[in-house]
């Protein structure tokens, strides 16, 4: 007594697979149809490059938010990439397999912590430390960079480890047999061979950092300005949408959708660069 035949199963699975793609398409369609007309009506230059964001007087320049997002993301890279890559190198080249088996899943668990918890710790612990030692309001660009830097660690570490471990053993053996030390082998051969994977891990981390919203809203201060120092309060593109969407109407609402369009495009570009880098890695072998 068959409920559904082979064909039926295939069709059901196909529909579920398509629903994932169609939701992506619908989201893209929705934000583009809501946001693009505004961008063209208001003027691409006025929207992207003007400094003033004041919806009540009809000023919608998102340049401060773009700069804030860029700085927060770059700062997160400065914090997260060296830590992540060094950690990945240690775990894959130096640590014993047992340590690797314990530490790698633990690091991946970092990704399971909700971002609001990161934000909470940022507000309660990190911001006071910055305020008391470095000055400023504490809720700042610097706090955002540090929190996001930690949040991207699991992405950077686990993809870097995978690409380092994918380097053929024979490269390492060939190098060691010529009298290279483990470190010489690592930085002259292994990392070079795994380079595209490591680059991909950083770019995916970038994508995660630029798209992060909750933790950034909580720790970055959210005032609209182009940051002059790491201690300034900043508002990112994501924060801007999340903070104002609930009460925005008319032009204001369209402007927020347009902000989403810009974010969408940035993240699409980053992800395509990452997937090209990963494909290059696979093609080389």
């Amino acid at each position: 007594m068959k409920l559904v035949g082979e064909k039926g199963v295939q069709r059901i699975l196909m529909i579920t697979a398509l629903s994932a793609i169609s939701s992506l398409l619908l989201i893209a369609l929705f934000i583009f149809s809501e946001g693009l007309p505004f961008i063209f009506n208001y003027g691409v230059g006025n929207f992207l490059l003007a400094n003033e964001w004041d919806p009540s007087t009809g000023h919608f320049g998102i340049f401060p938010m773009i700069m804030s997002s860029v700085w927060v993301t770059l700062g997160a890279m400065v914090v997260g990439a060296p830590l992540g890559i060094a950690g990945a190198i240690f775990l894959s080249e130096y640590a014993s397999p047992i340590i690797m088996k314990i530490v790698k899943p633990t690091i991946e668990l970092l990704a399971a912590i909700p971002s609001v918890v990161y934000g909470f710790i940022g507000v309660m612990v990190l911001a006071p430390i910055i305020r008391n030692n470095l000055g400023g309001p504490g809720l700042s660009l610097l706090a955002g960079c540090i929190i996001l830097g930690i949040m991207i660690l699991p992405t950077v570490i686990s993809i870097s480890i995978d690409s380092i471990l994918a380097v053929p053993r024979s490269y390492r053996e060939g190098s060691l047999a010529l009298g290279a030390t483990t470190w010489q082998t690592t930085h002259m051969v292994t990392i070079k061979a795994a380079r595209s994977g490591i680059v991909a891990s950083i770019i995916l981390g970038l994508g995660r950092a630029i798209g992060e919203t909750m933790a950034v809203i909580m720790v970055a201060g959210n005032s609209v300005n182009i940051p002059n120092s790491a201690l300034d309060s900043v508002r990112t593109l994501t924060a801007n949408i999340a903070l104002e969407m609930s009460y925005a109407t008319g032009m204001h609402r369209e402007a927020l959708f347009a902000t989403g369009v810009i974010l969408f495009i940035i993240i699409m570009i980053l992800n395509s660069i990452a997937s090209v880098a990963i494909r290059n890695r696979n093609a080389k072998k």
Partner: protein
Amino acid sequence: MNIKFKIENLSVYFGKEQFLNNVNLEIEANKILGIIGPSGSGKSTLLGALNRMNELEPHCRTEGTVLMDGVDINSSTYDVINLRKKVGIVFAMPVPLPMSIYENVVYGVRLSGVNDKKKLDELVEKSLTEAFLWNEVKDRLNLSGLRISGGQQQRLCLARVLAMEPEAILLDEPSSGLDPISTSKIEDALNQLKEKYTIVLVTNNTKQAARISDNTAYFLLGDMIEVGSTKQIFTAPLKKETDDYITGRFG
């Protein structure tokens, strides 16, 4: 005769499994020692004991002593990095490093701190010439080492060992995946190189051992059955197992 390596009561284990069983062997300097025997008889493990590549394998345990020029290479004070510079190895699968032909050859020398362009250029030409590869690649030294043919890659691996100016060269079935022409080029190279180096050649091909080695040792299941001059081993072996193997009655 001048002894390069003196191996005494050498046993090697990986985990619980024993790969070499109480081997005693002397390896003469400036000669080619051929090591023959079926797969799994411990030939590669013996090479790994001579430059301590075995210990890269986790759970490897070595008993007995290996003396190089009278010095115990397994002693805790012996510098393993230096040992690997003096005892080069060419693996069965040719694996150039993922860099240009030129950089492959000078890789080991650069590690030792040599960076003089002129000196490196000379070294590249000399090493590639000794490995019978220079004429085939001299116009494309910047090509990736991974993009030349298998036979050329194997000679490139030999050249990168030669560039180190080692004292001994270990070859682990260097022609197992190669065509006859590449094989004969490797053999020509080895015949000239023994003037300067001690060579240990592991081969699955008994004819190759008969062609180019001065001495031959026969290994079976971790035991060294017999060692002697190549002529004696191939014409009048002392042990029946050896005779069975070289005449093809093995198994």
